[in-house]
Symmetry: D2
Subunit: 428 residues, 4 copies
């Protein structure tokens, strides 16, 4: 450990700006770290239209700092390459034209080496920015940039899984991962909550996205939440009971998708002698029946809940229930790289954070009084508030410190390449 | 008028069963009436995948009574033709296999004549059913069948408009229609409502669909609602200000649709010298700038509201505001066959019913505690609670007596072949 | 029979112009006759993108006379409706814009009645044209118009079959048809032909399309031709031997089509207890194993020939072999409305004309020195000389007198909704 | 130069087997050489469904030797990796299942390094095979393998151009290339040929593909062939005369493609101030008006010829004309990596070999008496004899020694990512 690193770790004497800087460089380093097991070839290919290449994630997160922080706030900032704006803008219409999303995998140039140099160039400029007096708006945007990069760290992992799952050789992203408990997970149990008016949404302490605001009151009815996520074993029971062949369990759009796509199991499952194999970041392995089910669409989660006689929770039920639950769980820092079984048999809610994102029955819509942030970063969340559903709680691929109680993730109901599972709920 | 008809109109001495029968035959007659301006050729063709042929509507509504009322409740009922179940089931998976939706336009057989005979056969059987003691469940299903047929009456008209708009000869569905006021409509004004807890959803008096229940409390924030719908003139201002070319006004999915479809105006508009022409059920005519805009998607309605500095109302804001507003308006009974300008200049909410369905910002989701009806009719509403938005208020094509304060219509956000417009709202 | 009809039938004293007129009105009447079993509904619907509605065929053939004969050659000709040019131009780019081909089925207007009136209007004008001195170029174009209408008569029948086959009620176009012999067809036998230089193409006697010219020499190698077409029984053997599952029998494009379309038999076949049923113009009936196979694509014909150890003939082999064979066979005049079994057991080539068009291995390309006709009618054939294969011999739906030895029909190799079969060939 | 290399170059004392081995290793080396300017990233990506990644070309050509030579003919041959058969089989149905063609770009594994090791493994085994007595059939298949790899060398280059043209940074594949003459090319002139019976097809001396056989007689009519290919300047005249907007110049399928794809110029052209830029293997540069036009589809070539008042030659006209013309031209060995202008002003046919493949009007069909080779290699050519057109003469990317007078290349009429141009012809 260098002297500088030692200083960085001693948070007690750090100013807010220094702390921000610490987290910035830790985040920047983690991205590089996550890319390390990948060859340059692995980093350039786009697995499908939903996914992006790893190199693109590395460059786009860098461009984000360049476009929204360095250009406006650093007096003298030489662009690394002016053509990169076209290459690595994701969807910011206000910023200008950009390379089409489904063609991100054609960018063999700039090379992975050039992208690494780009990252260094921007990191150095960010260091210079901190050397002068950091404006509050710049600090806010750096905070946004850190959180933005964390989101892309998760995407980098899910997109690599998607790529590797499509390769005949079925490579593992990592072989090094901690062991998993072998005890049976606790049986399904219920935790009850009273109805009433609850304040939900972010309260302003620390960072939050604009879509978590404003904090506002919601009128809740009494409800119950399952103590843990639905497991693979429970999902196998759904399959064996004909769940994927029973139209009346499904939303109409879901049933149409099941038939069009030929779904018969979660994504990445493959039937083998005497059971299921599953492709994962740790390779192609026998499915752990006690681990939470993952890679299921909203349609499947909804059908499963109907099959089981329950329903999905609303996003506010989840948030109210999470109140008081420590923000701890098997996220990326746990190093599992996949959802694993619950270890504890203590009563109460388990697995609220980490392992798998949990589908809610809430459409992703603006909170009452929602205002998108001004300027281009206002495109960050608001323009996606249509046709998607909210997920809560983070996953095994969510970076440490990125998740919180009020965090709203969102995906289309047919999507399943993320680490997405479910927890059951019911009216009390 | 026949003696029987005279009796029918004398509602004062009718039993509930007799009243139900009166409404049943009035509804059945109206369907035939609406088909009268159409040739058999007009009735067989399917304009697009969203629309159905008029003949199909006539047959499907008849099949509904056969499948859900006559077969279970009439002791001796000879099927008109057992093959019709396959032909005219719409989407009831529980009932059995069916002719694919996009191929409804291939059904030149059974002929329009046979479908008319089918209607008479079923009407006669329904008459026999009323001659015996009507079971309460049968009465409920007949009520559902009446409402179901009313929905298809509206669809028959919107689908014919869609067909005729695609014909080079641009025929008018009807030439006979009442005159329209020429006075300017009232300027945009606002009506304010307090926040608080309001009960919404159907209270159980009279018929309602399962998706309007259960009645439940909603916590509302103070809001304002526009006194009338957005007009064509206001929409032209949006067009002229570059609304269809300004990405930042749009939801991301909306913008993608605008570009993919090449939208530059509402559906059925055509630019002509010095203004716009509009295809309608009364033919191809100059656009009335004072009439409410119609045939706009949710995406367009949302973008317009953002452009105007306002937002769309939630479905509950609409419902709370409608409380106390008489359920009156230019629906199908008014005989306009198109949305027309507001005539009154009185203060308060105008045009809440009729003219155009109003997009709300509410995703179409189950109410808390929603339970689909048991059996096949449970597929009526619940399985569509995904990916659609709620509309309120009925249109110029909604049959008289079909609409109510708690009525929830729903369409996908890109759809615009219905009579769909919007009313602005804002936080108070 | 009217006096006029009686005169018309007495061909012996007719001038060439009178004969032309006789054939013109006979052709015009036959079109009306073929439409008679159809309701107006049947006539308006378009079965698929390859097919056209019957009403469209009736109107388009009429427009052809209007556009290419009456407008240029009749001094005073009031257009029936100037908008019909847009509606009923098929593909003549030189003439102007036109209604899109896949949307022909949306033309509920003009009505079938109006189209019948249109036909009468044009027929009357054609009669007037004959009353004055007919210019040679006009006579040529009328001849072309007659042949053009005959082609559409065949298409009208194949398109109706395509429509009726897609209807759940599987209606028959006609119930009246002559009986068919029950004797076994003759066994497969071979007729040999010498190599050498042969003149092929049309020699100028009588009408021919431009694509049959110029007559020119072809160098032929010795070859053998099967005495009759391949039968349904022989095709069943191909199916039972796994023909549709054996990739190596197929052209690459053919195999891709088999897999994409899920082909397991000819079009209109349906497996039933103990055999195959077949949809046809005479209804849904058990397949006759002794009838020639029909509704097979080029890909299937080619694969069958490879399976059988033979090949398809070239178009010139067919033409050379047909030299001296009387132009007689079960064409439309025979009234079978479907291919039927060979009756004779005499030696030599049978079934060269009628029953089914025969796929050849010849790509549809211009003959050496080919020149398209000048003007818009030059678009008749030449612009399709790409990506299609030549068929020879006519079918059960080809009008009497339309076929000849040099006639070149052409379709894409995946198409099979025509009456298309095959005859085997081999090198001598 | 190693001693071994020195020996290899001394062809005078080499046995046929030694010569074959020399050519084998020269070919294998050239593939590696062509990949050298590419990063591993460049090599893994698939530009589009028609193209394949460079790494795939390198591996597939290696698998070809493994599957067809080493496995059958080397007594002890350990497979490098048995899973590679699935990864790198292109289309040999007889060999077994394979990775889907449109997903070749997902193969980040095996890595470029592993593929290089695979090549060495196979090369070493091939060396061992030569150390023993080489069976004649093995020698034939090695010869086929050499020619096969040469074809893929050309594809590797055209596919990289396709990839690089889609990259925003528009990289050059190579900067090192010889200068080009600046003199004007010779004016268009004609060379005449007599009609008569000519023998065409391969005569058996040296290697040829099965599709060039059997040699057979063709009856030819007198014709004229242009002395050189059509130039970019001539193509610009076509554009400026509205060629891409004039329907009557085009085949119907061609015109549909022009409209659907929005073609307004050859592939890789881009309009710029005062002229056209062109993407090429030597980068994005101003178009040379005197160079032959390249990257035009059959449809465009055909339309141009019609516009110019001529036609395309048949493949036999080209072959007869090429008789006696030395097989020399700017192929890959010339190192231009793009078509360049004709230098000589001598009379007679120029540019018959190299620069651009020349579209002919001949559909790609079997020669009379064609028999595909037995076994899996029989799938090499025969199964593609449908829907494609023949091209002759080789291009700037065709490896030295690969082309010959009877060589038949073939592509679909809409394809233009190869170096494809045209030479005009006419009847004499």
């Amino acid at each position: 450990m260098s002297a500088r690193d030692a200083v960085l770790l001693d948070n007690t004497h750090r100013t807010p700006a220094q702390s921000l800087y610490d987290r910035l460089i830790a985040t920047r380093r983690l991205s590089a770290e996550l890319a390390r097991p990948l060859s340059d070839e692995d980093q350039v290919v786009q697995a499908n239209d939903d996914a992006s290449p790893a190199k693109w994630h590395l460059a786009h997160t860098t461009w984000f700092f360049e476009a929204f922080v360095l250009k406006p706030f650093l007096e003298v900032y030489p662009l690394f390459d002016e053509r990169f704006e076209y290459c690595f803008n994701s969807y910011y219409e206000s910023v200008g034209p950009r390379h089409p999303r489904p063609k991100r995998g054609l960018l063999t140039r700039p090379s992975a080496d050039e992208v690494r140099a780009y990252r260094e160039h921007v990191d150095a400029a960010l260091e210079r920015l901190f050397a002068i007096n950091l404006q509050p708006r710049a600090a806010e945007l750096i905070e946004l940039g850190i959180n933005h990069e964390q989101q892309h760290q998760e995407l980098l992992l899910t997109d690599i899984l998607s790529l590797f799952a499509g390769e005949p050789l079925k490579p593992a992203y990592t072989r090094a991962h901690p062991g998993v408990a072998v005890a049976e997970p606790p049986p399904l149990d219920w935790v009850s909550f009273d109805g009433g008016i609850y304040a939900v949404g972010h309260d302003g302490e620390g960072f939050a996205y604009d879509n978590e605001r404003p904090r506002h009151d919601e009128l809740m009815r009494p409800f119950r939440l399952a103590n843990r996520c639905v497991t693979n074993a429970e999902w196998i029971a759904f399959i064996e009971a004909g769940g994927y062949r029973t139209a009346t369990l499904w939303l109409a759009d879901g049933w149409a998708t099941v038939k069009a796509q030929g779904w018969t199991s979660p994504l990445y499952w493959e039937e083998a002698d005497g059971g299921f194999m599953q492709m994962s970041l740790v390779g192609f392995r026998p499915l752990d029946p006690a681990a939470p089910v993952s890679h299921v669409s909203y349609y499947e989660a909804d059908a499963f809940a109907r099959f089981a006689g329950y329903r999905l929770p609303s996003e506010f039920e989840w948030e109210v229930a999470a109140d008081g639950v420590p923000v701890k769980g098997r996220t990326l820092g746990a190093g599992h790289f996949r959802p694993v079984r619950v270890e504890t048999r203590l009563a109460g809610l388990k697995q609220m954070y980490g392992d798998v994102w949990e589908w809610t029955r809430s459409a992703y819509l603006p909170y009452p009084g929602f205002q998108a942030a001004p300027g281009a970063v206002g495109e960050y969340n608001g323009k996606f508030m249509c046709n998607q559903f909210v997920l809560r709680g983070g996953s095994c691929a969510t970076p440490e410190g990125h998740i919180r109680k009020t965090y709203r993730n969102f995906f289309y109901p047919h999507q399943r390449w993320q680490f997405v599972g479910l927890r059951l709920a019911s009216d009390a």
